[in-house]
Amino acid sequence: MEHIELFFKSVFVDNMVFAYFLGMCSYLAVSKKVSTAVGLGAAVIFVLAITVPLNWLLDQYLLQEGALTWLGPDFADYDLSFLSFIMFIATIATMVQLVEIIVEKFSPSLYNSLGIFLPLIAVNCAILGGSLFMQSREIETLGLALNYGIASGIGWFLAILAIAAIREKIRYSNVPAPLRGLGITFIITGLMAIGFMSFGGMLTGGEDEATEESKEDTVGMVSTIETTNELTDTDLSLELKEDINK
């Protein structure tokens, strides 16, 4: 249940592009054609699925306060979390290189479709963002970290696929000249983000923890829904009481 909840939350509610604007540079630059967008999206899912669990391990056993206790009781006081930026980015950069070499060696066809995008990905904010959010949200297990990586990758993939499809069609529309290209893409993304905000209500039925988190994320949208729920609940109980009184 925990896994399913995290999965849907990361794909829809906390979508990388629409809720946090991560990976916007490549999102805007590589979304002119659906085929290239699919390639980059797949590469992002792939790299996120590898780097987020890896950085989770680093965070748990090296960087967090007290993470070094496995070396002996003397190390229990160390807090290396200020090093996390440089460790995370180093992991990401090396993993991307490594993945590139391995894929080239074992699957040339996959390399041909993903290969040109892999170097781009080392500096994609979505990848580093995935690791940093993983750290700041204190995800508990390795399985959940893997789940989070894949799910946020899929969210990014959906976003770039959708915008690429729209941009292919919009070429035939009569957009005001100054808005052509970049401007209209920004505005469409904004509209899509508004659409995605409606997923914010998806998790209100869940456990208290989940609703609390999404409350912060969607700026009170969820809380308004919750209060209305409470209102109807109290209304119902009032009616019931009246019924009993009768």
């Binding site: 604007f21 440089i86 963002g129 100054p178 970049l182 905000m197």
Partner: protein, 214 residues
Amino acid sequence: MGLLSKKDSKLIMDPLADNNPITIQVLGICSALAITAQLKPSIVMAISVMFVMGVGNVVISLMRNIIPSKIRIIVQLVVVATLVIIVDQVLKAFAYSLSKELSVFIGLIITNCIIMGRFEAFALANGTWRSFLDGIGNALGYGVILIIVGFFRELLGSGTLFGFKVLGDPVEKTGLYAIGYENNGFMVLPPMALIVVGIIIWVQRSRNKDLIED
């Protein structure tokens, strides 16, 4: 400008308008939009990026002849990451609540495409002083957009600037609120940042027809 030659001042002035990193080069949007719901974090972000870009460009420019070109991306990442750690630690020490508010977005300066882009395109090929000016110029261009977006979103979304209630008090119905004005809560939400930037691009390109695409 007496201090700078004509060529040098062009390095600073160009990114402010006709070669703006956000609206023309489309770089560095990643970390820019999420923190512009208010003016204060926008300015802090702009200053942080200016520090990282100015110093980073100088460091890369100093090392440009000894970096092997095959591993230059990793070297650049290490330089940026080090500078960003400095910024992050300074913010945590002197402005803790603000650093909480900016959360992961300070860390995301590392992957801010403007910085890597300027390292690649300028600092690796130019002298130290010119690289420094280029870094400051591009960071200014980035900061200007951040501040414009932050200004409109805070003013229209919460009716405040830097937390001061410039439009009157919405609860006690003073100032503009007395005649029925309401805050547009939508401006605070993330999607409006994109739309505001879209409108800035629109205004800029309709004033300068050369920039129109296609």
